[in-house]
Amino acid sequence: MSETTPTSRTGTERPAADIVFDHVTKRYPGQQTPALDDLSMTVPAGETCCLVGPSGGGKTTAMKLVNRLIDFESGDITIGGQSIRSVDVTTLRRDIGYVIQQVGLFPHMTIAGNIGVIPGLLGWSRDRIKKRTDELLDLVRLDRSFASRYPAQLSGGQQQRVGLARALAVDPPVMLMDEPFGALDPITRTEIQDEFLNLESEISKTVIFVTHDIDEAIKMGDRIAVLRQGGVLAQYGTADELLAHPADEYVADFVGADRGLKRLSLRRMREVVAGGDGASNGASPYADAPSVDADATLRIGLSTLFASGAPAVQVTDGGRLLGTVTLDQLQDAVAGSSS
């Protein structure tokens, strides 16, 4: 697999592969309860699965089983149908992008050196590594001049961009991310989350993303797996499913009592205004109402509505008025879709 050459700009030549956990149990020696208890779930190719849960819930364990940083006793994990135990561990890991909270850049190597480590070990030519490094710096929105700098010269956010670029170097079909943005300040964090979502829409990867932050999981995950103490899978589904129909008290508690509000974050104003009554009617009676961008979430729409005290907000798309949305419409949009 590692011989495949990414030729396009974003290296989408290698298709993403699904990851299947099949009755996987992990028990650490000397511990009574398993760290991971009979986990079965499928992460479809190209999707991001966020693993959330408390410390001791086994989320990091589950992730590290995939690249065999931790070994398991029973069950199996397959990537693209192939058992991870049937592949040489070094080959396996080189085909899996790995991003961790501490970033772990090699301090003595330049940024280019860091990104080119695995391509170098795979015997790529200098020219090819250089070309790939430039592509990746573009992809993570760092200036190409960063190639010759050292990790110590970069901010935390920039370092994690390099961490991402390094993980993507050989265009792996699968990425494992262990609280990758957890050490960043809130502003940088939001920025890099947004960019990663963008980047994911350009490149197709199957991602397992560990976080303890349910809001981050809702934002980043196509699917969310909620684990509980003892490594038991409490619920696995889309963010909307979890928020609308939590499987039990535990999940309801975990996603938060404000889950109705959180669901507002999952949808864009554009969707509501298009479906709303009289949405196409530009000459609305709410000409004085504040405006909200069509790509803003319903949560921002609601916030704008409350902050202004107006009965509705106007939804605009690049200056063009799409229509208005009232509080009732917002409520219907969320309550209606949960049934």
Partner: protein, 232 residues
């Protein structure tokens, strides 16, 4: 005082010869210590095991009086070059060993985990990640080790090996106080000169990225100051 300076002029040829042998012996002993200590220290640091054993053995070796090692050596392998070389290697080895071990073990765990997770083998992690990061600390161990060895090499005379500055230092009857002072002075200068040379090598070998890192976080620069020369 004038006899002290006169001694250098009067005995220039002898001093030059003794100094040369003194240097050769010290360099050889240091080289053996380094060749033994770096692989062992790196291996143990990489495994993150046996640290207690290493620190203990290092401390014991370090606290052994060199004269005692020479005396024990007399019983085991007699007088001569082997005796003094073994004694000097035992003197220098623990410093390089513990520094190498500490440096390799102390490489940021996140960095090592990233390396492992991205598919580097243990050997690749050791040679491409851990050892380069360990260069400054290993180097400081070698420098301290040099100072100890060169300042102790005069004991060659007591180990039955003629030809070092020890010939003068141990023979106050023959060369007088000014002679002993002159030889001791050269020994001190050798310690400083070697330390400075190794310091230059360290600067050249330390990767730029590590220097930048050390400048950014001064607290992380854990390089201990070289010990003062323990000249006799």
């Amino acid at each position: 005082m004038s006899s002290y300076f006169a001694f250098f002029g009067d005995n220039a040829a002898l001093l030059a010869e003794l100094t040369l042998v003194h240097i050769l012996l010290s360099v050889f002993a240091l080289a053996v210590a380094v060749v033994l200590a770096i692989p062992l220290g790196a291996w143990i640091g990489h495994l993150h095991r046996f640290s207690f054993a290493v620190v203990s053995v290092g401390n014991v070796l370090r606290s052994l009086p060199t004269l005692a090692i020479i005396a024990i050596g007399l019983a085991l392998y007699g007088f001569g070059i082997i005796n003094i070389t073994v004694a000097l290697v035992i003197l220098g080895f623990p410093l390089v060993l513990t520094n190498t071990f500490t440096a390799v073990e102390g490489v940021d765990p996140g960095t090592v985990e990233a390396a492992r997770g991205m598919g580097m083998t243990g050997w690749q992690i050791l040679t491409r990640v851990e050892l380069p990061s360990a260069i400054p600390l290993i180097s400081s161990g070698i420098r301290t080790s040099w100072v100890y060895i060169v300042a102790t090499a005069y004991l060659a005379t007591f180990a039955g090996q003629q030809g070092t500055l020890g010939d003068i230092i141990s023979n106050i009857e023959g060369y007088g106080l000014s002679g002993v002072l002159a030889a001791a002075t050269i020994s001190i200068l050798l310690a400083f000169a070697g330390d400075a040379l190794l310091g230059l090598a360290e600067r050249a070998l330390t990767p730029t990225g590590l220097r930048l890192l050390a400048e950014r976080t001064p607290a992380a620069d854990a390089e201990p100051a070289p010990a003062a020369p323990a000249a006799a």
